[in-house]
């Protein structure tokens, strides 16, 4: 049943546990923030003790990591506070160590934490998707209006990861001091946040301090919002983010979901009628031909390809155009 609603929670209120799963070695301790009971996907605050060392290897799950405090050595590189990385499933990371210790946020998106020692990517790894960035130093803050209607102007973001198919995002966000936004919001996607520093407030849940966390399933009311002294947090959504704003604190997730569907009907009535009237309710959605169509493959030679009349084709074509010069 996916991850339950964990909100609010503060990792400062619980102790670290030793990581006992195989592959991680000694010196890795964690606080579980949220967990998918079916897949084992989870988000954890992780303390790497001074001298911790993990050999090169990959995870069966895609993973994301951000350095919260200290430094992490990844192969020859040093990842400092604010460094973020995304590693697809099966991507072999170099040896990871923390000579002086480090605190990181670690997210396993598709399965339980795992580490298979290897200096080779798994054959199915989409290695080209790997990326990392110093999110504090090498990215600029951008307005938070990535979707309309938008958050108020004192909420800024740095986009860290984006899935072009699901529109899932990972981002840093901050609220400037004295930020406030007077509406209640819900989304059609799950939302997650970890407060790296500072405190924000939501009308339903009260203060979320440094180390504060939430995993919120879709359609749950949150807001109004405020932050007296500002905050910086890592946020994620698991599919397209749309802000449904309203001012009824007593609406339920089912009512919010129905309102979302009503808005689809009002905005895209033809698509809505087609989906409902033809019972296109397969759990994985209708087929997207762009993802399933037969393709020509690597061996295809475009220039030598024949056209339908059996002749080779060329790129000569005739069209009318205005001359402002002489031809040779």
């Amino acid at each position: 049943m996916a991850r339950p609603h964990i909100e609010p929670f503060c990792d400062r209120d619980v102790s670290f546990k030793n990581m006992t799963l195989p592959g991680f070695g000694r010196g890795m301790r964690y606080k579980m923030l949220s967990l998918d009971a079916d897949t084992g996907a989870c988000t954890m605050t992780v303390q790497l003790d001074g001298g911790y060392h993990q050999p090169p290897g990959f995870s069966w799950s895609e993973l994301e990591l951000i350095v919260v405090e200290g430094e992490v050595h990844l192969g020859e590189r040093v990842l400092r506070k604010g460094h973020y990385l995304y590693a697809p499933a099966g991507y072999a990371l170099p040896a990871l160590s923390a000579p002086q210790g480090a605190l990181v946020l670690l997210m396993y998106n598709t399965g339980e934490p795992s580490h298979v020692e290897s200096d080779q990517h798994h054959a199915e790894a989409q290695a080209q998707l790997y990326h990392d960035v110093d999110a504090y130093m090498d990215l600029a803050w951008a307005p938070g209006n990535v979707t309309r209607p938008s958050v108020a102007s004192g909420c800024l973001i740095k986009l860290l990861n984006y899935n072009p198919i699901s529109h899932a995002m990972t981002f840093l966000y901050c609220m400037t001091p004295a930020f406030y936004q007077d509406n209640i919001s819900y989304h059609d996607c799950a939302e997650e946040s970890y407060h790296l520093w500072g405190t924000s407030w939501m009308m339903q849940f009260g203060d979320v301090p440094t180390g504060g966390y939430f995993w919120r399933p879709a359609y749950i009311n949150h807001g109004a919002f405020a932050s007296q002294y500002g905050c910086i947090a890592l946020g994620r959504v698991d599919s397209k983010l749309f802000n449904h704003f309203h001012y009824n604190p007593w609406s339920t997730p089912v009512e919010n979901q129905q309102r979302s569907a009503a808005r689809v009907y009002q905005r895209d009535p033809l698509l809505y009628r087609w989906m409902v009237s033809h019972s296109h309710n397969h759990p994985h959605g209708p087929e997207d031909f762009e993802q399933t169509q037969a393709v020509r493959g690597e061996g295809y030679d475009h220039d030598q390809a024949s056209v339908s009349d059996g002749k080779e084709h060329s790129h000569w074509h005739r069209h009318e155009h205005v001359h402002d010069h002489e031809h040779d």
Binding site: T20, S153, N163, N183, Y247, W250
Partner: protein, 97 residues
């Protein structure tokens, strides 16, 4: 969850299954504690709701970004009869109760 670009099939060891079960049980306890804490916050939250209504009927409701619209008092919602104030929903719209 739709974060994923890829899921690589693998089997879980008994050790991993045991770890997962332990974490599931601890998460259940964590959830129940949060649910109770949010229930206990209800009287305070009632005041926050009233202050919210006061602001959106005077300063305005954030419609989009910083654009605001003042909500007429007559347009404020009322709490449905018999519906308790609830903010924690275990599985959102799929919650069983």
């Amino acid at each position: 969850m739709t974060f994923k670009n890829l899921f690589i099939e693998h089997s879980r060891s008994d050790e991993e299954e045991a770890w997962l079960q332990e974490e599931i049980e601890e998460q259940e306890a964590r959830f129940l504690a949060i649910e109770q804490a949010m229930e206990d916050l209800t009287p305070r939250r009632a005041r926050w709701y009233q202050e919210f209504f006061d602001r959106i009927t005077t300063i305005g409701f954030n419609v989009d970004g910083d654009d605001k619209r003042v909500i007429p008092r007559a347009g404020l919602p009322v709490q449905p009869e018999g519906r308790r104030d609830r903010v924690v929903w275990k599985y959102g719209a799929d919650s069983e109760d």
